[in-house]
């Protein structure tokens, strides 16, 4: 029988063999390079005495307890990329019918899908962390040659490291959500469409109609989790732990539904 560890390793390899995954990474790298260049070229007239947040100031890379840090701009891109990446890992297996082929090698389907989702989450977390580090490094020339590193003390680096950890964790959760939804819908596009509909329609509607219920929305909990700060103007307070638990709960529910459906489904070919 195939051990879970081997299954996990093979699923990670399968995910990394997908061109879509590398395309997403390439797009992210392109964005990082572009950000580094724009930051450098746009910091000609940097004024170190100005109080406004500036991308040329290292301490503005991450502002503890706020959303003004340059790094916060990456959260949306990483989350969306991770949803697409996670979705393509499971959705493509259905679209190409390879889910049938693999299921004739590992017939314990719950283990198979769990290994797939967990490996997608772990990869997304690691890739997300690497991209965040690269994002920070892309701004180093700007700080050293045109900006300033003044004020970057131990507390700053600790806060930055924790922020990178939290954003990476969120990336992993987003990948898990994408993988679970794509498995339920048996298509990558189902997950992407569902995520778009949720973020573009449901969340704004709930915010507008029942502001206090915003505490249960993915967006609000994502911001709280990654910034470790309460939301400005929100009608509720939310701690980091509560936000993490809320997101974890949604992930657990969707993954459970995906596992249950995959276990019970007849595999009669590609969808």
């Amino acid at each position: 029988m195939i051990s879970f560890r081997r299954l996990f390793a093979v699923e990670a390899r399968r995910a990394l063999s997908r061109r879509a995954v590398w395309l997403l990474i390439a797009v992210a790298l392109l964005g990082i390079v572009a950000t580094g260049l724009i930051a450098y070229l746009g910091s000609n007239d940097f004024d170190p005495t100005a109080s406004d947040p500036d991308i040329a100031r290292l301490t503005d890379l991450w502002v503890a307890g706020g959303v003004d840090g340059a790094l916060t701009a990456t959260i949306l891109f990483l989350a969306v990329g991770a949803i697409i990446g996670g979705a393509t890992v499971t959705g493509a297996e259905w679209q190409h019918g390879t889910v049938v082929t693999v299921s004739t090698w590992e017939v314990r389907r719950v283990r198979l899908l769990l290994a797939r989702i967990v490996s997608a989450m772990l990869l997304a977390g690691v890739i997300g962390m690497a991209l965040l580090v690269l994002f920070c490094m892309a701004l180093v020339p700007t700080y050293l040659l045109r900006g300033t590193t003044v004020g970057a003390d131990g507390d700053f680096w600790r806060e930055l490291a924790m922020a990178i950890g939290r954003i990476s964790g969120l990336t992993a959760i987003a990948a898990g959500l994408g993988a679970a939804i794509a498995s339920i819908g048996r298509r990558t596009t189902v997950a992407i469409a569902a995520a778009f509909a949720y973020l573009a329609v449901i969340e704004p509607s709930v915010r507008a109609l029942w502001p206090a219920r915003g505490r249960w929305l993915l967006g609000e909990n994502t911001v709280v989790l990654t910034t470790a700060a309460n939301l400005d103007g929100a009608e509720f307070t939310r701690g980091v732990t509560a936000a993490a638990l809320t997101l974890g709960f949604y992930l657990a529910v969707l993954v459970s539904v995906a596992l249950l459906l995959f276990r019970r489904r007849d595999l009669v070919g590609s969808s």
């Binding site: 061109r19 693999v102 004739t104 007849d266 070919g269």
Partner: protein
């Protein structure tokens, strides 16, 4: 001889989107003996692929019972799946990866390395195109790749659903020889196919299914006997006169176009020619009138179209 696959009263119903029940397999019985090539025949929609999917745990049976390599399906399947190689319909692999990469990813699940992958590709004649993307493969090449994936496990049981689908005549012959070679190695091969001539040439035993049920099963020779005793086809200058002469000599004879069909074994050939010669009818052709597996299959399953259907 022990059976590697035993199926009793297997039933599978699918619910349609409109809530109707569609019966794909309706109390099917099957016993596949160990060793040799076993043909699994049936018209389209007869339940062959669904049965194969049930055996591999891909669909849940609605009723009945099945065992594979001594374990009950699907509960015991995890214990024996590593000993079963399979192809279900057209093999599904990632089109944007090479054949070798696809096989390598599958092989890693069971700990098969690059050498095993290369050997499997070599065996199905795909070594030269192994590093090309699967999307550039023809249907026949995809079939070969699927077969290589099935062989990768070095399985004692192969369950192959239409493995020669899409292959050219040379490829079909290669597959026939490969299946025979696999059987000669002591493996059991269950192969579903529409190519009845190939089945007749390749298989030791067959089962014919129709409307989700087994309608005939056994060694190919025995199944062929179900089609009735082989006769003789005789050609003479005057068939009507020849018919009279043979009937007078005590043969069961009938006109069949410009031939006479005589219900007699091959050994009666001398008596037939003697009776015709005595009536002044010289034999210009005498051959066995064998019932092919195709004739038998069409007869049993009633799949032969009526002439008006052919014409329209």
């Amino acid at each position: 001889m022990s059976a590697v696959i035993e199926v009793e009263g297997l039933r599978k119903e699918f619910r349609t989107l409109r809530g109707r029940t569609q019966v794909a397999v309706d109390g099917l019985d099957l016993s596949v003996p160990a060793g040799g090539v076993f043909g699994f025949l049936g018209p389209n929609g007869s339940g062959k692929t669904t049965t194969i999917r049930c055996l591999l745990g891909l669909v849940r049976p609605s009723g009945g019972r099945a065992t594979v390599l001594g374990v009950t399906v699907p509960t015991g399947l995890p214990r024996v799946i590593a000993r079963i190689g399979s192809i279900v319909e057209t093999p599904a692999l990632f089109p944007t990866m090479s054949g070798r990469r696809n096989l390598s990813l599958l092989g890693r699940l069971d700990g098969h390395g690059a050498q095993s992958v290369a050997a499997a590709l070599e065996r199905v004649g795909l070594a030269e195109r192994a590093d090309d993307l699967v999307k550039t493969y023809s249907l026949g090449m995809k079939q070969r790749l699927g077969l290589a994936a099935a062989l990768l496990k070095d399985p004692e049981l192969l369950i192959l659903d239409e493995p020669a689908n899409g292959l050219d005549p040379a490829g079909i012959r290669e597959i026939r020889l490969l299946l025979r070679a696999l059987a000669a190695e002591g493996r059991t091969v269950l192969v579903s196919s529409h190519q009845l001539t190939e089945v007749q040439l390749t298989c030791d035993s067959v089962a014919i299914v129709d409307h989700g049920r087994t309608v005939a099963a056994g060694p190919v020779d025995e199944i062929m006997r179900l089609g009735g005793a082989a006769g003789l086809l005789v050609r003479v200058d005057d068939p009507a006169c020849g018919e009279t002469a043979l009937a007078a000599a005590g043969f069961d004879v009938a006109l069949a176009g410009d031939h006479l069909r005589v219900a007699a074994p091959a050994a009666a050939g001398a008596d037939v020619t003697r009776a015709l010669a005595a009536a002044g009818q010289w034999v210009s052709e005498l051959r066995l009138d064998e019932v092919s597996l195709e004739d038998l299959f069409l007869d049993i399953t009633g799949a032969l179209p009526r002439p008006e259907e052919v014409l329209t």
